[in-house]
Amino acid sequence: MNCSASAGQDSVSGATLLNPSTTGKEETVKCQFVTREGTYKLFKGDNCRTTVVGYTPQTNTPVKCSFSGDLICFNAAKELYVCNYKGIKNATDLNNPIDKRSYKGLYPTCHDFNVFADNVHLLVGLSAGQIQLMDPIKKEFCKLYNEERVIDKTKVTCIKWVPGSMNLFLVSHSSGQLYVYKEDLPCGSTTPHYQLFKQGEGFAIYTCKTKSTRNPLYRWVIGEGSINEIAFSPCSKYLATVSQDGFLRVFNYDTMELVGRVRSYFGGLLCICWSPDSKFVVVGGEDDLVTVWSLQEKRVIARGQGHKSWVNVVAFDPYTTTVRDAVDSANEAFGEESETPATRSENISHSLNDSNHLQHHSSTSSSSTIPSLNRNHCGSPSIEFNNHSTHLTCNTVNKSPIINSSRNSPSSIITSYRFGSVGQDTQLCLWELTEDIIKQPVGRSRTSILLHSPTNGSQHPLNSSSSHVSSSAQQSAYCSNLTSTDKCHNTLLPSQTGNCLPNNCNYLDPDVYTDHTTNTISSSTSSTGNNSFTNKHGQTRKEHKKNFSLASRNSDKNSLNKASHSKLNDDPIKLLGTSICPRLDEVPLLEPLICKKIAHERLTALVFKEDFFVTACQEGYIFTWVRPNKWENMQIAPSPIPSIDEEAALVDDNESTVV
């Protein structure tokens, strides 16, 4: 039982031990942890545990969280809660929900707020296949879809509003089917008859064959086995799905064409997230890995190994994504203890707006308004996270938070992405996708392990020969390629989105990185007029394509074409060693920046917000973690022991028998 996590024992200063009796034997549950930007601490203000009726650890519904403004929605066992959630501004009592629903004989599995509606429109997917639409504030209406279960009898696995739409939503099921619903259409009482509409490798799309239009509008049959999660790209152009068959599939949503695929190393893929600029997709699954796929290059560019079990959630953290521009200012706000003094001064995390959640796209259904897809940014390094600008002016800048305290490069590109993952191992991992990984030439076999945050050397004895890539060297190497000198500007939002508060829409235009640099995609989209914003915005930003190494674009394109023409290609044995599923030593294997056990039960949710991030675990606990610079400003004194001490005590008793 020597379960020493490699990265789990680094310089955590003053970590609270919840299990003194098992110290040194079991890994302790952390209440705080240090990254180079400072100390993250568990927020004590919340009454973070809900009283879950009938909860047993064996209950197999993951607790998920949805946010809309100051509202949080989460499901726990057979109940659904909607609460006011002020983050760290005010303690939240999750035991006093605005709305609480208990279900009988079934349970809620997933939910999604429509942040574009004037009212709160909350969709809830249920375990028996039905979908509820409700307004938990006004409690005005509650519609039920698939009530007779004639459309699909299986569990709803994920539900998402179509970005920018007031009335379209997607529902995925464990049957491996995805349906497009329109809010105001009836569902019908008999099994729908479908007609093949479009077909491609590993998927088929059907329309509903009826006299009058009714739900579902479309049925997508994707892969084999359950569709576990779906995600629209922040630019809203792409839809990505992960399935139990181990495939990530990325579609152009409007043209319904398959843009790219990834096969897990093995086992099902469970979760998915897009980078804030829609350039990368990260997936996690039953291979205990996180896998990073580049939309532009159509290949897996890295994997991350750190979890000890399946990865339940991956999420980009747009607020600590490191960017660089001409602004020269040292930022001492993060002068905390750092795990990695060597790299500490290089990357200063910064804010983007909350854009890694898909439903924030701001076009309207009438499509008369072309949203400006610019990035929000505050040029100052004061960590004043700025947001919610509602101007309608159009700036040419699409890049944002750009700060580098140690280097004045004349550019403004994201040099490093931060994402997090939580898993069944009760651990949180933070990962960094750095420039050297992003820009690595294709086909180069990598056998070394990149240690982004060199922890205790002794913990990785066999890696002693692995190269720690000096990021400063890498940076200078790439700086010469950069021409953009854009300053930072606030994001512009169409005025109608002004009321959706923190979840405002700020997007990078992915087309800059895709259509205008690779022919593959643009050819597939040119046939439709749906992506009008593509061209309008892409033109002004062409210079950004220089930021990318396009070394193997041609070969990738060929392989993609080949793939789409041949019939086989679902065989994971054949796919191993291709860009869809590279061998382990063919792409960089990342180690987590940090890897902490933060709960007693498996973790099921992870949402990054401006001042904090939220995790949830199977037992129904919701945890708020305060970001480093936010902590100092808070009124409430941090308590070393969070409000889970009752539980900790419980565990103390029992874990003593564990050796």
């Binding site: 093995f266 099902g268 039953e286 000890k308 069944q424 679902d570 994971p572 382990l584 199977q618």
Partner: protein, 359 residues
């Protein structure tokens, strides 16, 4: 019972009309579920069953062979495989009787360890086959000196045997020495809230030999600090993983059950290969799981789930039920440490996948 069986048959009939497969429960002869569960799991390891049935066919021609555990097993599998009905029950009476006769450990009505039985069964069959082989080829007494591993290789080794390599690197002279070791199954230490993948990976973690554990380096001719790790050199066709759920507790002077939740994917690759040269990078599919239910090694029950033609079945002695694949998560184990009793995976059988379009 009859109702249940016809129900299963009904379900099977609408799912897979053409499949000629038999799903027969095994009668329990007083705590013989450890045996039943392993026999069922192995029956649904197609390569194993095939070899056993081939043995039976061969034996028929020779006839008048003396009864061994293998002949009893062959008779039992043959009996199941040649049933007219698709479902029903069979009494493995002869096999159990033989087992008790051959090994005093099993000659009682106590609950036995399924993994111990699994091990015993495979080794006994291998020995019997090897003996027959040497008996056929050379004289009965003339096998000394020729007793290398090749001549003793039987289809048990072909199916289950893999090779571990024990690599030791001397930290003084950097010389690497490695020693190979064959295995028929891997016994894996488990941790709470981990995956079997992780447990297997830990198994290959590097360990530094220092102070009193220093390693004698033949190159340096002295004791030196060294790094040691175990890696898998050759992957077996069927990977049998045994989860070490029964731990001896000195304080209690007995074995207790560790019910840790250990998830296992339906598809598996190993991370701890000695080299990642292509070709031998096997992708495994889960085909059977032996599950221990209950509080401890001597109290409890064994059941088995198997995958057959794309669907999953649960075998609980004479009961056979179809089950949904999503129910597998009930057998991962439990996260609560208060509760010792659990229905948790104990032996996992993964079968290497053939390429769908192997050319």
């Amino acid at each position: 019972m009859g109702g249940n069986i016809s129900q299963l048959e009904k379900e099977l009939n609408c799912e897979s009309l053409t499949v000629n497969e038999h799903y027969f429960g095994l009668v329990n002869f007083g705590n013989s579920c450890y045996c039943n569960s392993v026999l069922q799991a192995l029956y649904f390891c197609r390569p194993f069953r095939q070899k056993v049935l081939e043995y039976k066919a061969k034996n028929k021609r020779v006839s008048q062979n003396k009864e061994t555990l293998l002949t009893c097993l062959a008779d039992l599998y043959h009996h199941i495989a040649t049933q007219k009905k698709k479902t029903g029950t069979v009494a493995p009476k002869k096999f159990i009787a033989r087992l008790k006769k051959e090994n005093v450990v099993f000659d009682n009505f106590l609950q036995q360890d399924a993994h111990e039985f699994f091990n015993y069964l495979l080794n006994t069959i291998a020995d019997l086959l090897a003996a027959e082989k040497s008996g056929n080829q050379t004289g009965p007494t003339d096998n000394n000196g020729k007793n290398n591993s090749d001549s003793n290789r039987t289809w048990i080794q072909d199916i289950f045997q893999g090779t571990l390599t024990n690599e030791t690197r001397c930290l003084n002279c950097e010389s690497l020495s490695s020693k190979d070791e064959d295995f028929l199954d891997l016994s894996v230490e488990i941790q709470q809230n981990t995956s079997i993948t992780h447990c297997l990976r830990v198994f290959s973690n590097t360990e530094t030999l220092s102070s009193e554990h220093k390693y004698y380096c033949e190159n340096c001719c002295s004791k030196q600090e060294a790094q040691k790790r175990m890696r898998i050199k050759k992957l077996p066709m069927i990977l049998a993983l045994h989860l070490k759920r029964f731990k001896y507790m000195e304080s209690q002077n007995r074995h207790t059950k560790i019910s840790y939740r250990v998830v296992f994917p339906l598809e598996l690759r190993l991370f701890n290969k000695a080299s990642n040269k292509g070709g031998d990078d096997k992708l495994y599919d889960l085909v059977a799981v032996v599950i221990h239910c209950g509080p401890g090694p001597n109290r409890g029950h064994y059941i088995t789930i198997v995958k057959s033609f794309g669907f999953w079945l649960l075998f609980d002695d004479e009961m056979v039920e179809k089950m949904d694949v999503s129910s597998i998560e009930d057998f991962y184990g439990i996260t609560s440490d208060t509760q010792k009793s659990s229905e948790s995976c104990y032996i996992l059988l993964y079968q290497a996948r053939e390429s769908m379009l192997s050319s």
